[in-house]
Every structure is written in structure tokens, then in C-alpha cells.
Symmetry: C2
Subunit: 333 residues, 2 copies
């Protein structure tokens, strides 16, 4: 095994979030499913943007948020994802690097613009995402640096990567290198509609390739096409070495063979914007896991990291998570 | 006099703010004067951006913030300012239009990029701004639509406009049209260093051309080169029809000939980011003034509008100010 350079390398769609608060009527009028991620083409993106209120731009992207969390926790993180060489691409690159993440994927010099997700936050703090993939379609296996993957304890992949066709190949290449190097592979299922689009492939991954699976209750029920969380739990424990299943305010369940932990949600003073909750849960969990913590502690760190990001607008941490973990859990990070 | 189409038209530097929280050491290290606005060239902008932590992008620009406030208060606002036809220019245009402001200045198709202000927010919630003027240098008198100026009760100009050379001519053109149309001209002094750069011209404006002057205590003391706020007050009352002078947590003073009002600051639960406080004070004040309110009420509305914008990151209102005024002051807007 190579020496470990990174705790976690994330691969995902590199996206700048365009976030506006809205009312429920906006979702109804534009036929948007609250809480989901819908893919939109350039024309649809423009329509939604034109209809949205004043917004703010904050770097996002599911795996990118997780790796920003890893860095904020004091871990070593690397990220692979494709922006274009444009203003929003500069914003994305600045933000992830400024957070302490290694990010060296070459930007696209032609083709579509840097990806944007138009995020509507309703008064219940739920987020509804409309993602224009833009330059993400240009992520290819050549962007996956074997040395980075082989030098990372965990390779973390987002299910969303299955939407841009070539990214799927990048995903598989990274997975193979990680396993060949004796490393772990983690996957987040990302979104229940995404699971619908790729159920058979995701089932195959969960059963045969993924060591650590992250999912929320909708996603895991969708994966196994079952009605209840408990049924899904009985399935997933047969397959993945570890599954960490998030349930919003009901906390999370971590299961690994015979071992199971029920983790409470970390209370928040004010729930502002749920965007990034799952991403930051994964960050806290993986940071614990790559620092020798037991599964219960990993789950608690996940809850604490998630609690920070849902307390403000935007899916990247705004306070150093390392300090938050130290003050909240009493645990050394 | 033409029929009134707009309550207030603002002319200013059209800027996207790039905002990051930072510590005091960052300011010292980069030789930045806390609370001020410094102009930076492209190379300096890149240096500061590279050194800054992860940021968020929110449309800004002093007069643009004021006009966004006018719209949020339920008034009719128009804005004139120059962006480039690039991604951040699109962001600026979207945000101000989505807030309900008429904004029809043609974007530049060549030359420097849309302006950015790199804003460092320290733990005391004070903001230190480093502004790269970019496309703002391409605002010219041709961008001033005489019909818009003649159709606006108040033309509101920012002192910052004196930095890009051609914008000064646009400023003078607008001022002349406003006066020729029997309208009022309002000016904000913007920044004490800006006053230093253009003191003689600003003094001439204050004495001979401006009907409503906005300034904070540093700026008004700088204008008259006096030590105390009270000395400045004795000067300014000789010149402007109305002066509205803000003093942060000490509230504001509104003076017009013999009439003087001491307005308390509106208390805030948590001071988060002072960016835009003066801009939104001007919005509340001018909205009152263009809706027949007495000067004391204008000042109170200014304080209420300012209190909203300093309660969160970013210089544009995030809650409808019309509702805030109604619930806080009990006054009909």
C-alpha cells in the first residue's frame, strides 16, 4: 500500500449553488418536487433563474461539500471534479482550495459553463435543487489521478456522478484503483430520484463494491424498493461492510454486520437551510473513521457536522468543524 | 414636471461582493484599514482573493443596495450602473431585477470584467472592502437615460462614482437633468477616504447642488476637516436642504434648517455584518421621504431598514422590508 497522503478523496459534480429563499407556491407553479434534485437543461435553468428571487452564490456540489467538511475538521482532503475556466469556475476553485482541500482537476477550456444548482429554500428550511450539469459532463477517467486515489484512505463517490455519462467511467476507474490499492470505497446514494434512474447499477455497487454506504431513508427505501426503513435496514446489512443511514431530525443508524448504533440528531438552535446536511454527516463520519474512531463516535461526529451546516444558508461549513467537534463531543479530533 | 415613474433612481458602481469572514490578523498582514473601502487593481484583487478563505458571492454596490432596499420597502426604484456581459454581470442583473428594480443599463461587451468587492468581515462584524472597479470604468454619460432621471422623484448618487473618471460625468449629467426637471438630488459621501480624494468637489456639491446629503460621522468630519461630529453638524446645516447623518450604534441625526431630529438606532438581536448599513438607512429614509413622511419618521425607517441588513451576511435585504417597517414602526408604508 502507498503511504497515505489524504484521508479522503472525493469525486463529484463540481457545482456553484445559486440559493434563494422562496415560498411553497413557487415550487407548485414550477412543478418542482420539494426536497429533490432535478436535472435541468440550459433553457430550463434560465427559466427557473429568471423566475427566482435575488440569490446568493456559494460553492457546492455534494462530494465537494463533504471534502470541504473533512478539511474543516482538520483532515486531509482531495477533490476531483470538473469546472470550466470561467468566473464561476474560479469561484469554485478558490473556495475549495481556500478551505484547505487539494484540487487539481484541470478546468475545461471549451464546452458548457461551470455547473450551477438553482436551490430554492422554503420556509421549512427544506431545499429543492435544479441542477444544470454544465461542465460536469466533461469529467472523464483521465481526470482521475491514480496516485491521489491510491494515496487516500477512502475514495468517496457521489451517486450524482452517474448522471454525466463519462463521469461514471471516472467513478469506476477510481473505485478499481482504490480497491487494488487496498483502500476503502464509500458511496452516497445522493437522491431518491437518482436511485430510481440507476437502481440496478447502484444495487450491484452496494452488493459488490462499496465498503461504506451513505443514504437517507428515502434513498435506501428506493434502492431496495421497500416501504419501511426497517425493511431496507435488513437488506443493507447483508451487503455493505458499513452503512450509515441518515433520517433528518430522527438522527441516524450505523450498521456493520452485527453491530448497530442508533445516533440522535444533534439539536440545532435554528434550522435555516437543510442543503448539505447529508454531505456534512458523511464528512464527520469519514473523519472519525479515518482517525480510528468507533462507529458510534463516527455517527456522532456526522451529526455534529450536519448540525452546523443546516444552521445557515449554504452547504459548506462556516465555522471550523474541528473546534465544534472538540467543544460538542468532548472527543479529540 | 414629467409624471413620476420612479420614487428613486440610483446611480452607482455595479459590484458583486465576495464576502469572507476573517480574523483581525488578516487585515494587519495585508495592510488593510478596518472599516474602509480601498480600490485595488486586478493584480491586488487576485492577491487578496488568493489569500481569503472560502467566500460567498452576493450582489452589492452601494447605490444598488439602496435601490434594492427601496424595492423591498414597496417603492418604485430604478438603477443605472455598468456590468460586463459575463457570469457575474448576469448575477448582478438577475438579483437587482428579481428584487423588482428597473435596471436597463447595457452591459459592456469588452474591457474589464464585472466589478468585485472583496469584503473581509471581522469578528466585530465590521467590514473592510477591497474593490476592483472592473467594468464600472465604462459607465459613461450615455448610460444616463434622461427620461428615467426626469421621471424619478429623487436621483440618488454615490460618492464612489467619482473614482471611475467617466462616471463623474454621468453623475453630473444626471444631477443637471434632475434639477432641470424640478426633482431632488441625494448624495451619499460613501467613505471617508473617498471624501479625502474628492473633498473640494464634494464640498462644492454639498453647498451648491445636493438637496439631501447622507454621510456617517467619519465622512462628514472628513468633509469639513473638523474633529467633532458637532462641528460638522454646524457646517452641514448651512448648506444642504436635508442632511441625514448616521452614527452606527449611536443612531442618526436628521437636520434641515432649524429642524433637527435625534433618531435612536434600531436594536438588533445579533450584529452579523455591517456591510450595507448606510445604504439601507438611505433606502428607509428616502422611501419615507418620497411617501410624504416627516423627517423623524424617515430617520426611523432608515434605522429599521439598516437593522435588517446588519443582521445577516450581505448588503441586500433578505426579508421584505415593507413588512418589517409595518410591524416595527406601526407606520403605514
Amino acid at each position: 500500500m502507498n503511504s497515505t497522503k489524504y484521508d479522503v478523496v472525493g469525486i463529484g459534480n463540481a457545482i456553484v449553488d445559486v440559493i434563494a429563499q422562496t415560498d411553497y407556491e413557487f415550487l407548485t407553479k414550477h412543478d418542482l418536487t420539494k426536497g429533490s434534485m432535478a436535472l435541468v437543461d440550459e433553457a430550463q435553468a434560465q427559466l427557473i433563474y429568471n423566475a427566482m428571487g435575488p440569490a446568493m452564490e456559494i460553492s457546492g456540489g455534494s462530494a465537494a461539500n463533504t471534502i470541504a467538511g473533512i478539511a474543516s475538521l482538520g483532515g486531509c482532503g482531495a477533490y476531483i471534479g470538473k469546472v470550466k475556466a470561467d468566473q464561476l469556475g474560479d469561484v469554485f476553485r478558490h473556495d475549495i482550495r481556500a478551505g484547505g482541500v487539494a484540487f487539481d482537476t484541470a478546468p475545461a477550456t471549451e464546452g458548457p459553463q461551470t455547473a450551477r444548482s438553482f436551490i430554492l429554500v422554503t420556509p421549512d428550511a427544506q431545499r429543492t435543487m435544479n441542477t444544470y450539469l454544465g461542465a460536469c459532463v466533461n469529467l472523464t477517467p483521465e481526470d482521475v489521478d491514480p496516485e491521489v486515489i491510491a494515496g487516500s484512505s477512502v475514495t468517496y463517490l457521489e451517486g450524482y456522478l452517474w448522471d454525466p455519462p463519462l463521469a461514471k467511467e471516472a467513478f469506476r476507474k477510481a473505485m478499481n484503483i482504490a480497491h487494488d490499492s487496498g483502500r476503502k470505497v464509500a458511496l452516497t446514494l445522493s437522491d431518491s430520484f437518482c436511485v430510481d434512474r440507476f437502481r440496478d447499477e447502484f444495487l450491484d455497487l452496494a452488493e459488490n463494491a462499496v465498503d461504506i454506504l451513505f443514504a437517507n431513508d428515502d434513498e435506501i427505501c428506493s434502492l431496495y424498493q421497500v416501504e419501511t426503513f426497517d425493511e431496507a435496514l435488513q437488506h443493507v446489512r447483508q451487503h455493505c461492510e458499513i452503512a450509515a443511514l441518515t433520517r433528518s431530525e430522527h438522527g441516524s443508524v450505523v450498521i456493520s454486520g452485527e453491530e448497530v448504533h442508533i445516533i440522535e440528531a444533534q439539536p440545532v438552535e435554528r434550522l435555516e437551510d437543510a442543503t448539505g446536511a447529508g454531505d456534512l454527516y458523511a464528512a464527520g463520519f469519514l473523519h472519525g473513521h479515518t482517525h480510528g474512531q468507533d462507529l458510534a463516535t463516527c455517527g456522532r461526529w456526522g451529526s455534529i457536522a450536519a448540525s452546523e451546516v443546516i444552521s445557515h444558508i449554504g452547504a459548506r461549513p462556516q465555522t471550523p468543524l474541528r473546534e465544534l467537534i472538540a467543544s460538542t463531543s468532548g472527543g479529540a479530533v
